[in-house]
Symmetry: C2
Subunit: 261 residues, 2 copies
């Protein structure tokens, strides 16, 4: 247990509330916690059985500082740290480059690729951790910390991490928007949204076995113009949903048939 | 076992190859099978231990005829049947109205809402069956057949079924297209596509617990303009992916913030 790196936590938002307790539960020593929101920070520090850091510029003694604040607040947070901190200063953001951390410190990234909700406990074994550091020694420290929670460890450059973050917007936010549209269409027709849940699970499970391109089915892939025409009629003219339907249908058609619809 | 309706099957494609053996396995009596593709039909009939129907216009003796052919071929298939068939003539299509079946027969729809692949066995317990008929007696017969495979039975009108089919295109084909985009972005950055699988599963699982609208996260929901600007820069100008990113980001933004981006 004492082999784990010791960490100080900065933040009391969604990531901190999920990651902090998960690390503590695994026996990682939490040296202290700072949060700009004093009330939330006190609550989380108490929950983690650690001391509240009341002034960021106080000397901190741990192997790592994990910065779990909003992307915008990362530089100012780093700048407020004691200049002599000798450990790794790592943030947990998908889109902020390593270089955003002042080079006064050993810099690191400790990015758990997951969509965090306040109300849903994260299953950490399934979460990929994307790590970045400036040398193998620091990568090793970040790796030992990540391994307490998950075996899915990836070492990515800042550029790769930013591409991954963009890809995650498509796979998560945009796919979820498609689920929203489907729920709205069902609601208009008085059909319970749960009817689509098995298909949605199947859609996700399929691409564990094959690429999304191989998994694609439906009227556009088949070139089934009659069904596409019926869908267009159902959607009506001149509205956002119809224009999204047309764009995405054409995209799928083009991938299979090599030309526009 | 003898309480189950007896069925004759028409078709030897994807649906027939999945649904036929599943029904037979449950002890449903398959009275015969017809398929336009004679070779495939003979193979499937042998597999189902049933007789091959060589001429569609021959008298058929069963409670039901299940028509599992492409949407376009449904009317001609129905027209080729013996005019005196006294059972239910049902198709398995999501988008073809009940009225497409000649009113000479007792008409029915037996639509399993699933994306069928040749190479993946369907887990039938999870498949919603959408039924339609012209009276309760016939609905009851279709229901007893569906119940051999699944407890998820829904009675939908042709209009509802068509909306459901459209909703399924969004939830399945379009969501899958988003997965395709994400895989392409990862590939360009030399990141293995499996890194996104836990997030994709989480995205699907989340909406079993809450609506897709409640489940939404990400830069557009947060109004995180800096990340959106970084994504746009990464995507470049004047290409399809960028225009899809802009459209969908704006859609998500509008839903949370009540105005365009």
């Amino acid at each position: 247990m004492s082999d784990y790196p010791t960490v100080s936590l900065i933040g009391s938002g969604r990531v901190a509330k999920q990651l902090g307790p998960a690390l503590a539960k695994k026996g990682v020593k939490i040296a202290g916690l700072y949060g700009r929101n004093r009330v939330e920070a006190e609550k989380l520090a108490a929950r983690l059985n650690t001391s509240l850091i009341t002034d960021l510029s106080d000397p901190i003694s741990s192997d790592l500082i994990l910065i779990m604040v909003s992307d915008d607040a990362i530089p100012e947070t780093v700048n407020a740290l004691h200049p002599d901190f000798a450990g790794i200063v790592a943030h947990t953001s998908g889109s902020v480059p390593l270089q955003s951390i002042s080079d006064r410190y050993r810099r690191g990234v400790f990015y758990p690729l997951q969509s965090f909700s306040f109300d849903k406990t994260v299953v950490w074994e399934n979460v990929p951790f994307c790590l970045e550091a400036e040398n193998d020694e620091d990568l090793n420290i970040l790796g030992r910390l990540a391994e307490t929670l998950s075996q899915r460890i990836h070492i990515l450059s800042s550029e790769q991490r930013q591409s991954l973050h963009l890809a995650a917007v498509f796979a998560n936010n945009f796919a979820n928007l498609m689920f929203e549209y489907s729920e709205e269409i069902l609601e208009k027709s008085n059909i319970d949204r749960s009817i689509l849940h098995p298909l949605i699970l199947e859609t996700a499970n399929k691409i564990l076995m094959q690429t999304a391109s191989q998994a694609q089915t439906g009227p556009a892939t088949r070139g089934d113009m009659k069904t596409i025409a019926a869908h267009r009629k159902l959607l009506g003219e001149d509205n956002t949903l119809r224009s999204i339907y047309d764009t995405l249908t054409n995209e799928i058609y083009r991938r299979t048939h090599g030309k526009d619809l």
